[in-house]
Symmetry: C2
């Protein structure tokens, strides 16, 4: 009965093809990036013909959307289980956020539309998932900030973590020996502000 496990010899019906396709797609995503996502290559990796995928997805865009959905769901779990998030501290969640992106760079890029901008912008599922994530962030901030500052603060935090995550996975700078330490140091500034800063904006 373990024949279904490892050395399963090409049964006609796969049994869990939808899942298998998504997993293969995800591996492809991490190996070659969102731009390289393709139905034929995904099917090839699963050992199935390309048209078989159409019994489970309406097309390539649909696969991309499903991957992004999984990504957002995982990210949410990741953030909610970040240590001491419950105490109202932000750094642990920020560190977890960046860690997720570093662990799943291809997926993270896909989640933000790379390669599928057209498909995503017109898809309500994606829009919903992103705004859900954003609401979680705002809720976290609501414990610590007056209502009228929450929107700006949330955008500030999201920008910082999103930017840091992307710069890291793009390899845009030398992360030093311990990337996590660097992330923590940068996030610490989000509480302290830049020292001796004196920016003013012109009135008018």
């Amino acid at each position: 009965m373990t024949t279904t496990e490892a050395g399963a010899p090409a049964r006609y019906h796969h049994g869990d093809l939808r899942n298998a396709l998504l997993e293969a797609a995800r591996a492809l995503l991490e190996e070659r990036g969102p731009t390289a996502l393709g139905i034929r290559e995904i099917a090839r990796r699963v050992g199935v013909s390309a048209p078989a995928a159409y019994h489970h997805f309406s097309g390539l865009d649909d696969i991309a959307v499903a991957l992004a959905e999984r990504g957002f769901a995982e990210l949410a779990v990741h953030l909610q289980t970040a240590p001491s998030n419950a105490k109202g501290q932000l750094a642990p969640a920020g560190i977890a956020y960046v860690a997720f992106a570093r662990d799943n760079p291809g997926l993270y890029r896909l989640m933000f539309g790379e390669g599928f901008r057209g498909a995503f912008s017109s898809d309500d599922r994606i829009r919903r998932l992103r705004s859900d994530a954003y609401e979680v962030l705002k809720t976290g901030l609501s414990r610590r900030l007056p209502a009228e500052e929450i929107d700006t603060a949330a955008l500030f935090l999201w920008s910082l973590t999103h930017g840091l995550a992307l710069l890291m996975i793009d390899g845009q700078f030398d992360p030093g020996a311990d990337p996590d330490t660097l992330v923590a140091a940068v996030l610490r500034l989000s509480g302290k502000g830049l020292p001796t800063s004196t920016e003013r904006t012109d009135p008018g």
Copy 2:
């Protein structure tokens, strides 16, 4: 003699094809994104055969690199001429940075590798340009911060502006009536820090 201007009737030699190709490529970039960059389409827009481009570029990757080079050069000018940057204030430069990305979203994405990750990561010109930009940022900070804090502060600022720029050009949130005001408000937090923040990191 003005025949060379507008209604120029298909001369065999173009005269300034390299430039024309880059400009057409840039328009394409903004219309359809880095993923849609293609030699055939670029040549088509200029009204020239595709192989003609090979007299000026070694291939598609080379065009992308040239575009990114122009982008970084323009961004640098944009930042250096930001109002009151000379006074050591950071907000104007930050606002200019985000404005550049908003004005050239396709180009900005390309500059950070979208669609040409492979080509860019192995290209020294790009690497050099990015680290040049980063040095400019650090120099700006050196007027206001002790040396040992500059690296972290620079990464903090770059992450914040990069993230904010991308979230804006991706249309990830409602920018409200005046996007510039929102950007200014977010950047202001980079000096103040998040109010009532008390994050600590565990020792060990």
